[in-house]
């Protein structure tokens, strides 16, 4: 078998497979070997679909041998957060309770689209219970561990996705982001993550959390791989009520276009508070590289975060009401107690939060008339230690679990597209959010690509690799 580097990108893998320098089966076996060797430490996978992966890889190799066209992800191993339906698996969504569901009869739309492009699904990934989490810890399956220091959190709720890509087990993973669950693990694990515009990528056959905030998206170790995965997953889908009917807008053709002409600003006010020095340093490095000192105030961001919190806790409670009654002891207690409290929030407050949301969206969209890209921290800190319950933010001791996402929540609240880029600080990386106007993922990806070429952002190799 050829020597396949764990750091080989998805683009390089697909090129090598298509060019018949390596077989899809060899790329798949290499990924399965890495998972077997290293996931005992990372705990990022809950299911390894080895038989399916080998069968799929052999089929791709057969197509190539027959001279048939294969997609731009030919032979690229990938994995998905375990809230995606995978044919034959019960969609556990990080819970104990959902393991009693019948096995899924059909893959999630995004898995089908990745595989139609030649990618090879190798398994399902650990996550925080029912996605109500920013830590990546899970009382049922154990925590997803940080690839740069396994005594630290991977971030959540897509913890396994962050850990598997950050740990170079697979070049691409898929996850979900309701309040920050793609951007937080990207930040803690030192990788690239894309939370697209709300409605851009189909959520069909994935387990929901807060339907009006739920987004799916990719993680990768480079901006190019992120764009590659994103482009093949776009397209309308009648099976997701919120999925846009806009035509596919590929981002790869403009990925190397640079940032000439783009108006870039740093989010001020709320986004410059509640930070550890590392988070401020990361934003400063990105701003310097993009040659901007301009700032922009996102109005009422604290209230936006509060409103997102209210909608989340109440919609989450509504989703799980029956299970809270019938199987309360089968929940993670921390999730159960938050959901029970969520069921008790008066409805008038929820309606107010949704009205505020419309006001806030209009104000923020106004900002995008004078700016194309906004920079903000992805997390207030680098990855905390596993089990860490509190941290000090601006002199106030706060619980870690709900406060890791304070800078991501006001953005997903109104569905803006964001690329989280990794700034490779020592000893731990940390992310910065590149925030664009709705449907302008291309702008955030262009900036991410340029920053990567400049060496300002990069996915560091996991320690011990």
């Amino acid at each position: 078998m050829p020597d396949i580097s764990p750091l080989m990108s998805a683009a390089e893998t697909a090129e090598a497979v298509t060019g018949r320098r390596i077989m899809a089966l060899e790329a798949t076996e290499a990924a399965l070997g890495r998972i077997a060797a290293r996931d005992t430490i990372l705990n990022s996978f809950t299911d390894v679909t080895a038989d399916r992966a080998r069968a799929r890889a052999k089929a791709i190799d057969a197509e190539i041998a027959a001279g048939k066209p294969v997609g731009p992800l030919a032979g690229v191993p990938f994995a998905v957060k375990n809230l995606f339906d995978v044919q034959g698996l019960a969609t556990r969504a990080g819970s104990k309770i959902n393991r009693d569901r019948a096995p899924s009869r059909r893959d999630a739309t995004l898995i089908e689209r990745m595989e139609a492009a030649g990618a090879v699904l190798v398994g399902a990934l650990n996550m925080g219970e029912y996605a109500y989490d920013f830590t990546g810890e899970n009382v049922h399956d154990g925590p997803s561990c940080n690839p740069h220091d396994p005594t630290r959190m991977a971030g959540g709720s897509s913890g396994g996705s962050g850990s598997a890509v950050g740990g170079a087990l697979v070049p691409i993973a898929l996850g979900s982001d309701t309040n920050g669950s793609i951007r937080v693990p990207s930040s803690f694990c030192g990788i690239f993550g894309l939370k697209p515009t709300y409605g851009r990528l189909s959520r069909a056959r994935s387990y929901p959390f807060v339907t009006s905030f739920d987004h799916l998206g990719p993680f990768a170790r480079s901006a190019r791989d992120l764009a590659l995965a994103y482009d093949v997953m776009q397209g309308p889908d009648a099976d997701d009520a919120a999925c846009t009917t806009r035509p596919v807008e590929p981002t790869l053709p403009s990925l190397t276009a640079g940032i000439a002409g783009l108006r870039i600003a740093i989010a001020s006010g709320y986004f410059q508070h509640n930070l550890f020095p590392e988070a401020a340093e990361a934003v400063a490095r990105v701003a310097k590289a993009l040659r901007t000192t301009q700032t922009v105030e996102i109005p009422e961001a604290a209230r936006a975060r509060a409103a997102a919190y209210i909608v989340t806790t109440t919609e989450g409670a509504s989703l799980h009401l029956d299970r809270l009654r019938s199987r309360p002891n089968d929940f993670d207690p921390a999730v159960r107690d938050r959901l029970i409290a969520g069921a008790m929030v008066p409805a008038a407050y929820v309606d107010k939060a949704q009205k505020f949301r419309r006001w806030y969206r209009a104000r923020v969209l106004e900002l995008f008339k004078s700016v194309d890209l906004i920079l903000a921290p992805a997390t207030p800190c680098t990855a905390p230690r596993l089990g860490q319950a509190s941290f000090m933010l601006d002199g106030v001791e706060l619980p870690v679990r709900p406060n890791i996402g304070i800078h991501t929540q006001p953005i997903s609240f109104i569905g803006l597209p964001v690329v989280a880029v990794p700034v490779p600080l020592e000893p731990m990386p940390i992310g910065v959010q590149l925030i664009a106007a709705p449907w302008r993922e291309d702008i955030a990806l262009r900036a991410a690509y340029l920053l990567e070429k400049m060496g300002v952002v990069a996915a560091p190799a996991p320690k011990g690799l």
Binding site: S212, I310, L321, I340, F356, R357, R358
Partner: protein
Amino acid sequence: MADHLDDYIDAVARVMALPVEDAWRPAVRANLEVSLRLARLVDEFPLPDETEPAAIYSA
């Protein structure tokens, strides 16, 4: 306020048939206090009566 909130938790739990065991009550209460504090922050913000909620349903 403390007693009122405990009374409220008891009443809503009964009305909604939600179990709140004694061991869970402090955490449920702490979470509800955070949610209500944040809800008040939103509630304090003046909005025109005509403001539409940001629903995603479309006919």
